[in-house]
Assembly symmetry: D2
Homo-oligomer: 328 residues x 4
Amino acid sequence: MALKFKYAAALIPWANPGDRFLRAGYREALPPLQRLKHAASLGVLDGVELMYPAEVNEENVQEVKRILSDTGLALAIVGTPISSERRFANGALTSRDPSVRRTAIDRVKAGMDMCAELGGNQIMFFLGQDGCDYSLEVDYEEAWSWMAESIAEMASHRDDVKICLEYKPFEPRRHIFLNDVGTALHLIDQIDADNVGVVLDTGHALMANETLGESIWLLHRARRLYHFHFNDNYRGWDDDMIVGSIHFMPFVEAVYWLKRIGYSSWISLDLFPYREDPDLAVTESIAYLKRLDEIVDEIGLETITELLHHNDGARTLRVINRHVLGTN
Amino acid sequence: MALKFKYAAALIPWANPGDRFLRAGYREALPPLQRLKHAASLGVLDGVELMYPAEVNEENVQEVKRILSDTGLALAIVGTPISSERRFANGALTSRDPSVRRTAIDRVKAGMDMCAELGGNQIMFFLGQDGCDYSLEVDYEEAWSWMAESIAEMASHRDDVKICLEYKPFEPRRHIFLNDVGTALHLIDQIDADNVGVVLDTGHALMANETLGESIWLLHRARRLYHFHFNDNYRGWDDDMIVGSIHFMPFVEAVYWLKRIGYSSWISLDLFPYREDPDLAVTESIAYLKRLDEIVDEIGLETITELLHHNDGARTLRVINRHVLGTN
Amino acid sequence: MALKFKYAAALIPWANPGDRFLRAGYREALPPLQRLKHAASLGVLDGVELMYPAEVNEENVQEVKRILSDTGLALAIVGTPISSERRFANGALTSRDPSVRRTAIDRVKAGMDMCAELGGNQIMFFLGQDGCDYSLEVDYEEAWSWMAESIAEMASHRDDVKICLEYKPFEPRRHIFLNDVGTALHLIDQIDADNVGVVLDTGHALMANETLGESIWLLHRARRLYHFHFNDNYRGWDDDMIVGSIHFMPFVEAVYWLKRIGYSSWISLDLFPYREDPDLAVTESIAYLKRLDEIVDEIGLETITELLHHNDGARTLRVINRHVLGTN
Amino acid sequence: MALKFKYAAALIPWANPGDRFLRAGYREALPPLQRLKHAASLGVLDGVELMYPAEVNEENVQEVKRILSDTGLALAIVGTPISSERRFANGALTSRDPSVRRTAIDRVKAGMDMCAELGGNQIMFFLGQDGCDYSLEVDYEEAWSWMAESIAEMASHRDDVKICLEYKPFEPRRHIFLNDVGTALHLIDQIDADNVGVVLDTGHALMANETLGESIWLLHRARRLYHFHFNDNYRGWDDDMIVGSIHFMPFVEAVYWLKRIGYSSWISLDLFPYREDPDLAVTESIAYLKRLDEIVDEIGLETITELLHHNDGARTLRVINRHVLGTN
């Protein structure tokens, strides 16, 4: 019987996304607990991502548990952001100020505890301020060493919660140290821990000129593909757009490889619908991914695998287009 | 009754495309006249693009006419390349050497005559060597003035043949003067001629961060959309790939706008299938475009126009995905 | 006697720049009038850019005049932003809601009046929300027509204040209609007004793959180069970095062409020093530009013009490097 | 006493570089042995790169030795290209055809033997055909496993010759498996060999959005920085331009880090001067790099290291600009 994916989403669409030109945001935010209830009300999600401490924290944890239980939503992952505060402007894990690094590490550990308290088993963060903008403004020797040490310390905090590193080439820093799948794997190769892996964000991978199926395979081979974010973009920036709004075949490839490796963790959405209907942005993305899942089943994993072995993009495309579009 | 597009292709797929690492090309070329017959044998093309003098010339013109007549293929356009010879390395129309400019102008004029001789009504060229690589290596004042003068002279050669300028941001020069739709229109605004317009190449437009529908509209509004090339790419380079192999919605938008403006000239392919089956590359691209044409008809121009007026990408996507993919 | 440039800056460096990950901004802002005094205190600026109504408005205009007079700073330009409010999220000049377009037009007109009141002669805005993100979410026919009409109406408001359009390929919209130099010139070609031109922002031009010298020349030839913004970036995004922090030769080319055309308006800075010392960001950029100005004088305009005529980037580079770096 | 770099160059500038629009090349090539003599005659190179078998081979090896000895040029490295033949079009080390993989492996081994015969100690290749263009046309599981096995076999062929892998994001394939520094290190982490490392090509690293100093540091930390190629580009493509023709500070950073880690291998050039004077392209690049080397010495490694620790790009820039440009 075919494995079914579990679908989740981050709650950003209802949290008033903004940008540097409209920092007040493009619409009013729902309060955190209402976002959660609202997400449940869409009826298409199996789980949610919750940010610690902005959306779930020591104060509201019991209420969050109750809502999850009432709505039947599972906790997909806890986000523990360490890139969105002024104190982390020159780096969280790679700041030259040891007290800043301590704050960041402790924040993630507290998020791991919160995750366990909620019955979850994985947390994630991205290192958006741990990078550089200008030439000759960072001592990479120090930075890389602090980054590895900090993550190792987090990993040893508790082994029942997995740490998902979210690599990304740039933004907000013009260059982020943890910038792509190869660098993430090289970093993990140096950390002696079984609970440090990766959340692959398709948008970040497209920015990094990666081929989605290959990145999935490389992470799987290393047993480090822990979590998955879908969104679409124009390849030059992290647009966080509705899945399938730009690309088609790259997402078919991603779904094929997720199924081929027997991926059994969450398929989640990381969307920033600044001007679009946030409910539609989420429901359309989920509907699209579920349809791709079916399409791969309908054509058959074996048939697609056999196509790979012809090394002819035109031949694969003919099969997919005939099935999906009814071309002849 | 809905307008039907006429489909054509350039013959490059059978002409042994190569690159700087494999200048000998990725497979053996068919001789020019065989390319033509072979293209006809696919049974999906209404017309072809022919390069002057490489594929059609004073020597073989009678034979080309006979093949066109025998196969029922129409001549979509004559290409008159002025970027692929060593003498044009520092510019064809903008070379500082007047004899080089003269050679380029005369070449295009001869191509116009050949086009008329073949019963055609439009020629095209792109100005791939008319640009620059390094800072401070070109006097833009001279270059722009020679470019405009040269094109004006070509235009006055005969008014029964239209000149299609093919803009492109870069390659082979790192910066091409005639680099995007706005620049092309600004140049045309300065030339007093009714037979100078544009061939919009979707790959070039994607490289230039253009939105296909908008570029179609801007050219149409100026009555300068003469010819159209489809191909796909990853937005960073002119990959000349099979249509639909990467993008989906941008092509739906393109087809909608072509239909909305009542475009009645050729839809042609400019593909470089280095490693793929060349026949499949062409037939799949045509099948895909014909299916997009149907899809837009099925949904209806008016329905899509109404969607535009909601300014919500999510809503449009829902309609398209439901129709095309059967999402719900 | 060599023409001397006048140097100015926008006050953003002291206005707490932020981004979508740190919307609270990277440091505390100075209040508007203190920004102005602080900018004067650096001792390197001849003028400033003031935003209407955030920095100068009907309430504080007399005080602003006094500070300008006391400090000897000139008003370089008034900015009249129409991309930074929620009401303009789906377009300012191209919104489908006529009352939104009206608000935007009136805002710019009021800014023109304020500019005149301050003794200035030019205003500027960029159309960052007038664009699109998704395929098939905008009716380009309407949008382009409203954009041209709106600007024509502004232009006719008063002819003693020039309107500087600031083109930019994208951000915040993923595609901005007024996206590059060619498109700006094509738009201006359609508006019958003598006071509509362009502010060339080097960062926006680099994003658009333009060659700075060529864009300067094209705007000058059309008599539409009204204002100039310098900043640097990595070519993929509007990083608004210190001038010369990444590129070198492209800026030498820009300065050469500004001098060659006898540019006599302002050289201004549009910098976002999120994490850097804001005073240093400004003073270093000015020092750099003044040195480039001297370098071009030292080598000589004629010498450089003669180099252009050799069409050999290596030869030009040798002359510049020998002079600047002392290579041999 | 300060370490002095050794400077070398590939001979491409005199080998008639071409591209897909001018496959016949932009000028006549010198025959291989004359290229070598000509390179020596410039008087600025300590060594050269030689391609096997195109430039050095079993037939001419004695003559090559004699020329090297006569001219005093050292052999910097032997290139063993496996991306420039039709048989490798669908991959050299990752072809599904075992006989193709065998041919590629044997070619590299023969190049290693030739290198030893010439008294050299390192060879290099890049895997430009080992990648993909279309979605779902490669089985990454097979490909990665063949790639690692093939390189391991080469490494075990002889341990007195080091293998330098040249990573690159794309071209000729639209995606190359060995695409960036992190991926290269992750691959090397899996191969049990002490003689497999990396040639860092600055152009490839810029294409991959890397920060040159960081990539140098990461490779050095892993003891895998074996060889170094300088060239410049616009970050979107492998333009292989004269060093310093576009960027400045990124190259200062690269030279600082090379000196800080005590890099003692070759600094070489990989340039494609299609239209420029080839001798000038090489001599200017060398003069530029030697000057950067001096500049870093003049300012002092310790001073720059101290600047890194301020995490302020503006402050670093002030010091560099004052020293280099004489700004104040």
